[in-house]
Amino acid sequence: MRLINKLLGRRDDRAPYSFFGGISPPAHKTRSLRSRLMPTPIPELLLLPLSQNREADAIPVVNVGERVLKFQLLAEPGEPQGTALHAPTSGRISSISMAPVTIESSSPRLCMHLQTDGVDAAIDVEAEADYRALGHLQLLEKIELAGICGLGGAGFATARKLSLSINQGVDLLIINAAECEPYISADEALLRERAVDVVSGADILQSISLAKRCVIAIAEDKEDAIETLVAALKTSSIELITLASKYPAGGEKQIIQAVSGMQTPSNQHPPSIGVLVHNVGTAYAVYRAVVCGEPCISRITTLTGAPLQTPKNFETLIGTPVSFLFDLCGIDSAIHTGSIVGGSLMGIKLLNLDVPVLKTSNCLIAMSASEFPAAAPELACIRCGYCATACPARLLPQQLYAFSRSQNHQQIEDHGLFDCIECGACAYVCPSSIPLVQYYRTSKQEIRQLQASQQQSLRWQTRFQQHQYRIKLQQEQIQHHKPVSIDMDSIDKQADSEETGQQATSEIPKASFSRELAQQEIADAVARVRARKSGVIASSNNNENGS
């Protein structure tokens, strides 16, 4: 039967949905799933970055020193891709200053420092029991006001994503519960305990995006979560699909391919093929925003790793420092060698434990030397081709590696570098332990910088040409009507004509403009400035000397 299906190109009903390539690393999830989902106590200081993703900072609407209440709006988005920021608890804004956060790199970002008071007093929120009575644009507005961004990891503003997909028209909405990366169990913990809420959130997302079909896709090894989901989905039209449990099944393009069989074209977003993917965490945040009226002020974060005595899933307030959470879990600092935010394959190593939990931080791993040994030395590529069979984007990692080393930007782009999702499957299977993703990220960055500088020099070139054209026009004007009449706004022009006169020696007749007078004026001004400079502003003088 299986063979017949294969020959006819039909799907085998019993086989889990899958995609090309991928790897099956040990999951390490049971450790953090032993205990229930727990809320965290309120730390003394919350660090709230004004931008949760790569976009520009949000604009603060509260002042330093102001007392704020839970759920109160702190900053509104500065651009359509941005997200609003709300107070996770009550307290006082002690400062708005730069602090290290973990967005791409550990570079400092502008953060609000919220000194909490422990009272947790909240402003009134309007709960909406019957969300089905609302129109889809009203629901969209609620999501936008709640400041929800993709809680799966990329942090793209959910309202923006939804409105883009409404414009393009979407047939299929996938709620991504694959959570394929090792160590992360936040989505599974959420589904185990709050599957009904997630299903309502998915329902809201479906009614906003006007998708005809909605599926929740989950990896087949999450048995507890599947059980609760099946129970929650009994009365719903939403389908449940079990995916093969391999990494990176939760990648956006991979989950679309597994569920629908369609491939997302290069350089395009899933809405272009009529598919929209949202994370389960996002669906839950949408439920909280619409049904409970609460903005996005917390998320579920997995704390795991051998140095933690009680690994857990926490419902964490946004802005909680990582060190606070590690202390809650009883960290054994003797064997703690480092920390990762995100999963073990795509996560970012933390250099500083004072960084806050962001809306995108799904997992915090405390590393130990036994679990995360130092990287083996990089050996030569032996062209075994394992990486090409593991690459879920069907690229040729060893070719990309060669072109990256030789900095052959044209070839590496032609080989689809920008389709690389940086999942790290190639580096995982590499027998020579080459840090392939690092090469790709370096090359991507080089190419982006080069493109930016090329654009800039093109702009400079255009401006130079325009400048020369203007000078030429002015020269012609001077030659044709002499003398140039001094009209209202031509002080600027006079100066120009004077200059062109100097440049083109004495061919061009001078404008009726007394140079002696102008020079006298300038000399006077110089004298005035010198006098003022030497007399009054000694301090600024010092600064200048310093610079």
């Binding site: 791409e104 050996l379 990220r441 910088q449 020099s457 400079w460 070139q461 401006r463 130079f464």
Partner: protein, 198 residues
Amino acid sequence: MQLPIIASSYSQAIVAILVLAAVVGLCLQLRRFVALSLLRQSSLVDQVNRLLPQTQCGRCGFEGCRPYARAIIEGESINRCPPGGTATIIQLSRLLNELPQSLNPAVGKHQPPSVAVIREAECIGCTKCIQACPVDAILGAGKVMHTVLEQECTGCDLCVEPCPVDCIDMVELTPTQQPIWHLPNRLISPQNSLESAS
């Protein structure tokens, strides 16, 4: 049924082959012509100009980047661009099949990218810097404070010299996006590979 091209004798076969050769030859000529005309569209001057940094500073001794590009094609040396530095010289040497040379010390040193900043309190509004700016990146009018559009400033420092009150500073540009990723250090020495093998 008789096929149209069946040689009944040797002479017919030879004629057929000659005709075929002529057609193929014509096609090849046409292709070459098209390729040449495409090449002519982006002339060598343009190609050289594209490699120059477009700061229009004139430190090479020419009035801007394009005049220097034209001079290079006419035989000027390729090592006269301080803002481009070694990187530009290497790219030019590749394009023109010349030996790369070190930067001509007569034109100055390579400096990191910078922008002009006017100390606005001291500006007297003489418009001299506005006239000097090759890319119209300075905003202002007579007897009114001037300011530099940082986005458009190429850092050519042509405005510094004409300023009568010396109120223009060249400020080194801190890159907005520092390189985060670097190629890994490949430390493969014989000892290293032996260690990993054992």
